[in-house]
C-alpha cells in the first residue's frame, strides 16, 4: 500500500511556481499493476519521483508500506569516476543483495564486456540506460516504479524487457503509458493525474475513458 497523505507538490522552474498535486489523499495498492495517465510528461515524472522517494513533497507525506523500488531507469546513485563493477557492488550492498551474485549477473546480462571495469561515466548513454533497467529489475521489490525511460522501444530479444515481463507477473507496478494495447496486456488498474488530483480506477478501460479528453488534445 502506498498512501498519499495530504500531499501537495509545487515545483519551481524558471522562476515560475506551479502546483502539480494539491491535497491528494489516495491509497494505491502495491500488489497491482497500474497504468498511470496524465496530461504532461513532466508532471507524471514528478509524481513518479514522489512515489519512488527521490523527492519530498512540499507538504504532506507519502508513506510506502511495501518494498518500493526507485524509479526504474534512474541511476543517480552511481558515481561517474568509479568502475561499473564497484558501482554495482555498492548498489547490491545498499539493497542487501548478494554482492558477488549480483555483479556476475549484471556482467552477463548487460553485455558490457570489458567496459565493466571502466569508469561508469565513460559508458555511452544508451548503455547507461540499459544498465539502469537491468540493475533495477534484478532486485526483487514488491512494487516497481517505472518511468518513460523504463521500457525498451522494441520488445523482442531485449534482456530488460524479458525481466520486466517476469517481474510484471509477480510484483506490483506503476507504469506511465498512453498505449491502450500495452496497458491492457500489462496493467489491471489505472491512476489518472487530472487537475492536481490523482484518481484511481479499478480497470484500465475506465481510466483511459476518463483521460480521453487530454489524450486527444
Amino acid at each position: 500500500m502506498i498512501v498519499f497523505d495530504q500531499v501537495t507538490m509545487a515545483v519551481t522552474s524558471h522562476h515560475h511556481t506551479r502546483t502539480v498535486l494539491s491535497c491528494v489523499n489516495l491509497s494505491i495498492p502495491s500488489n497491482r499493476r497500474i497504468a498511470f495517465l496524465g496530461p504532461s510528461r513532466e508532471d507524471k515524472r514528478i509524481v513518479i519521483d514522489l512515489i519512488g522517494g527521490l523527492v519530498l513533497p512540499s507538504a504532506g507525506r507519502v508513506a510506502r508500506m511495501a518494498n518500493v523500488s526507485f524509479p526504474v531507469g534512474h541511476l543517480g546513485g552511481f558515481k561517474a569516476e568509479l568502475s561499473v563493477r564497484i558501482n554495482v557492488a555498492h548498489f547490491a550492498r545498499l539493497y542487501d543483495a548478494d554482492v558477488k551474485k549480483m555483479v556476475n549477473f549484471i556482467e552477463r546480462a548487460a553485455g558490457l564486456g570489458p567496459m565493466v571495469d571502466k569508469p561508469y561515466g565513460l559508458l555511452p548513454p544508451q548503455a547507461k540506460l540499459h544498465l539502469a533497467r537491468i540493475v533495477a529489475y534484478s532486485i526483487p521489490f514488491d512494487f516497481y516504479v517505472l518511468t518513460d525511460n523504463s521500457l525498451h522501444g522494441k520488445a523482442d530479444g531485449d534482456v530488460s524487457y524479458d525481466m520486466f515481463r517476469e517481474r510484471n507477473r509477480t510484483a506490483g507496478m506503476i507504469i506511465p503509458t498512453h498505449n491502450l494495447k500495452f496497458a491492457r496486456e500489462y496493467c489491471e488498474m489505472g491512476v489518472v493525474l487530472d487537475r492536481e488530483k490523482l484518481l484511481l480506477y479499478d480497470n484500465v478501460e475506465k481510466a483511459f475513458a476518463a483521460s480521453r479528453k487530454f489524450l486527444l488534445a
Partner: protein, 265 residues
Amino acid sequence: MKNASNVREVVSFRIALRRYLGIMAALLLQEYETWHHAPVRKLLKMIEPMGNIAIICFVGIFIFNHGAVVGDSQVLFIASGFFPKYLFFYTARYTPNKSSRNLFPTEQRLDYMLVNVIVKIVEFVILGIVLFGSIYLLITDQAMPVSYDPMLEAVIAMAMLGFGYGAVNLALRQIFWFWPAIVQVINMTLIMICGVFFIVDFLPPDIRYWVSFIPNIHAIVLFRQGFYPRYPALILDTSYLAYCAIIAVLVGFVLERITRRAIAK
C-alpha cells in the same frame, strides 16, 4: 522481505537496524573504494588541511616569537592547538553537493553527513600521525604523546562539535544568503581566541571566565594534555565539553530534519 528500501514497510526493529547498518557500511565502503581507486586525487585534496596546519605552525614561530610557552618547541605548541581546531572546521565544512536526484532513495543526506564525519576523523588520525611524526623526527622528542586517551577524546569531541556547527551553518545558509561570509569571520575569530597561540589559564580572570564558555577551548586543552602532562588545565571541564558535544550532535540532527525539504530543492 530481504532487501532494504526507503520505505515505511512494517518490519521488526532488528531488521530495520540491520538494514540501516548495512547502508552505512555500504557508504563507508564506497568512500574506501574512492580512496583505493584514486589515492593521488584524495591525497591532493588533503593538501589543504596539511598545508594550512604547516603554514600556521611555521609562521607562528616568527609572529609569536616569545620562546616556547610550554615545552621546548613553539612549533609543537601551535601544532597541538591548531590540529584539533582545524578538525573542527574541517568536519563542519559539509556541503550537500548532491541533489537528492543524484542518490538512491535508500541513501539519505544524514547518512552522508555521518559518513563525512567518520571519514574526516580517519583522515585526521592519519594526518596527525604524519604531522606529529615529522615534528618528532625533525624538531623535538616531545612530539611523542605521553598518553593517547585525552587526544582521542578531544578529536572525537571536536568532530561532534564540528558536526553540529556544520548543521547550524547549513540551516542558516537557507535563511541568510550571506551566511558563508559571516562563517569565515567567526572561524577566524575562533582561531584567535581559542588558545591555539597562548595558554588560556594565563589570561586575566574576567576574560578567562567568558572565554571558558567556548567548548573548543576545553577540547584543545584536553588534546594538549596528551603531549604535556603538566599542561595548566585549571579551565578544563570535561563534563561541560561532553554536554556541549552531545547537544551539538542533537541540534545537528534536528536542524537536518527541519531543513531537509528546503535543501532538497
